[in-house]
Symmetry: C2
Amino acid sequence: MLKYQQIATEIEKYIEDHALQQGDKLPVLEKLMAQFDVSKSTITKSLDLLEKKGVVFQVRGSGIFVRRHKRKGYISLLSNQGFKKDLEEFTITTEVIELNVIKPSEEVALNLNIKADDDVYSVKRVRYINGQTLCLEESFYNKAIITYLNKEIVSESIFHYIREGLGLKVGFSDLYLHVDMLTEEEAGYLGLKQGMPKLYVETVFHLTNGQPFDFSKITYNYEQSQFVIQADSHFL
Amino acid sequence: MLKYQQIATEIEKYIEDHALQQGDKLPVLEKLMAQFDVSKSTITKSLDLLEKKGVVFQVRGSGIFVRRHKRKGYISLLSNQGFKKDLEEFTITTEVIELNVIKPSEEVALNLNIKADDDVYSVKRVRYINGQTLCLEESFYNKAIITYLNKEIVSESIFHYIREGLGLKVGFSDLYLHVDMLTEEEAGYLGLKQGMPKLYVETVFHLTNGQPFDFSKITYNYEQSQFVIQADSHFL
């Protein structure tokens, strides 16, 4: 972790420890520099990172303010960290249904930008929140990039393993969402009835070099899931 | 519009005109500087803006690449522009159901950070896509900020009016989503059956100074709507 990332984490902790609310003003730059004992350029980079993450907003000539949405228990759709962090007050568990090496379907090959005879890891899991079904997840990993998975790894956070175990850098992702009715199979896994509502999310995750490595399809139990997005306006 | 914003728009047009696809490489910095006749600092700011908007991604030591999700007809949940731009191949029309000045409910007052005896504009509309219902929208505007609305304005793009007519600067927004079943009233407006699935989105829009000015609740017709989010990883 670079210095400015570390300081950003500390400022986030400061906001949490002081229970600062949306609109509360942070100390001025000079104070922050002194408090964390860093240069102006470092503190500026830390604040820019926190602005991108939706933790603060900066008003020119006026200061730096806390940005914090007010609702608890919402899953962030913009976080690439998986939802463990959003739901840390809850117990999240995982049941692994399948883990195989397969040849990709046309859909998977297209989304991962690979050929029909390349290998992919296919992982099917059900995630639980406090013992209730949260979602059914089917993920396909390009085996040329994610070279090794086993049952133990996919029982825990796969992304943690990808970062720490494989040392890969996760970059941007494209999410496609729609709402529909549960199929019989999905309803079975989620313990709901066929025809009930679902949120269905397809995500293509890319490395920082732009290569897609994970195509994932998640079907959420609508009774257990709610979502938050913190959006910025870059269009003015 | 500032110079770098203008150049960013021109680079976007260049990508579109040349039908560049995800992963295609842009000309190197020096070429872009010459092509658009601007300084290095301007072109760098333009590219940073385009990266924030999800139009390009930059790979250190390797270049600038086009980032473009592959699916058409998806509504961007991160755009504060309204969905007219995402759906420009479709005909979007609006039916105004209600336009009133009212006192806010507790929920509205909380989300707009105003008092119970402040005034809000309450706007209820149904939006149509190619003649089919797309969504039911109920929005509440803090009248101290959005000082004037009339039926003509709310028949068109309210955000366009807020920017161009009132000269306000729209900043960040917080979106809260969940999936549920349509109530009888919602089903009536959308021409669907009670109990069918819906995506329900609440959004709090803020000015760049952090002041919330619009609290909006949208219920989407699941048969006519699909969504895209382009996410970045700021967590590494």
